[in-house]
Symmetry: C2
């Protein structure tokens, strides 16, 4: 155990750079905040390259720390705050290693996100996909970064329970179709089919689109079937994560 | 049209107080930000007591403003910013009047929120209840304030489409039961019933609980039936707004 009191320490200055996506990509590492996410990461054998804990965190989680961490930094509250994305951080922040590219086979149910921009929505959809029994999530172009602190927080650790990859959906959709997994889009127009009239399935891909614009016309034209959720009240639309939740729980056998 | 350039102007200083719940309750008014919400309020005949617009907003929405507003303040960007909850506000903010207490009859489907604390969750659930065809939402004790800017934003205007009231759920649940509307709780324990085994209904109340603790034991004991959503993956739970969405769309006939 080493101690760091100053936010000007080189290790802290370097670590703080991971708040930017550019540095996360360069180093293939990211910041993980709070005990719950760090426990989940550890349980999934994610490599934690550095761990920063303040005195309060150390007192509260002594046992877990002793059993799970070989090395860590004891840092001042100020140091922890400078690394954290939230004004009142929990007592622990780690630098975690991104997984190697996953060579997933596309069996089971998959959620494909086209340009879903809000990190909270993306994280919540990963959490919901996990709970619904999906095999994986693919973050298409324009979607929020998985390693954004708000995305990570919203997943509640589900990113460690199923396959989550970034990819170009225009290339990935045909791969599903080659394996006879239907690709279902979501649309608000009249050519789409009421989701309730679709039978439950085991192997398929569900595409959800941008919060304002929905799925891009180009991808919408590639799907096998487009679905809609009938809206009964006066709401113009559903939040994309809610729509995804309703569809995922309805569709998966 | 009057102009206000300074954030020290008395009208602005008074209006800014509405960022606090205490002043909203005293005056029975609240701040409404952005064109979409203000249009929805106007369409629902909500009284807008004051409207503040900057030059950009005025240029962009000239026609709507001329047709809908008798009076408004043209304000500097700085003034608009001091009233807004977001760092880059849209060009318009209004002071709106709260509705009188609603003497709702409890027919149809109702969503009851017990201590749901996140404003985004509460707002999203109101929006989803609207889309699912629910008659109203009751915000029980401890739930986020409807007039918190984040709640309002997340409703996307749905608060003007159905009945939304605050109330004591321990008093309200028996009122539903007196009219033969079953009250359905949500629980994670084994005594609860799989939601898929429940028939669709027209008149009922669905209670959703706190993000961490769920429904309070006291209310859980008052319900007619408690439901759960089977979780297939490794997620510990669903986000409360997602769970509410899945249940509302499944249950309402």
């Amino acid at each position: 155990m080493k101690e760091i009191q100053s936010t000007k320490n080189t290790v802290i200055k370097e670590t703080k750079k991971l708040q930017q996506k550019k540095y996360r990509q360069q180093t293939q590492t990211y910041l993980l905040e709070g005990f719950h996410l760090i426990q989940e990461a550890k349980a999934a054998n994610v490599l934690l390259k550095e761990v920063f804990i303040n005195q309060r965190g150390l007192n509260e989680w002594t046992e877990w720390i002793e059993e799970n961490l070989e090395e860590y930094y004891l840092v001042s509250d100020e140091v922890l705050k400078t690394l954290a994305s939230q004004p009142t951080p929990q007592g622990i922040i780690a630098v975690a290693e991104m997984p190697k590219e996953d060579t997933a086979d596309f069996t089971g149910a998959w959620l494909l996100l086209d340009n879903v921009q809000d990190p909270g929505n993306v994280g919540t959809m990963i959490r919901t996909a996990d709970a619904a029994g999906f095999s994986g999530v693919i973050l298409g172009q324009g979607s929020a970064d998985l390693y954004n602190p708000k995305t990570l927080r919203s997943t509640q650790g589900s990113l460690y329970h199923l396959s989550v990859n970034a990819g170009d959906l225009a290339e990935i959709i045909p791969q599903f179709q080659q394996t006879d997994s239907p690709v279902l889009g979501t649309a608000l127009d009249k050519t789409a089919k009421d989701y309730l009239s679709v039978e439950k399935m085991s192997d398929f891909a569900l595409v959800m689109g941008n919060e304002g614009q929905g799925i891009s016309p180009e991808l919408l034209a590639m799907t096998d079937q487009n679905l809609y959720i009938p809206i009964k009240g006066q709401a113009e639309s559903l939040n994309v994560a809610i729509a995804a939740g309703v569809l995922m729980f309805h569709l998966l056998k």
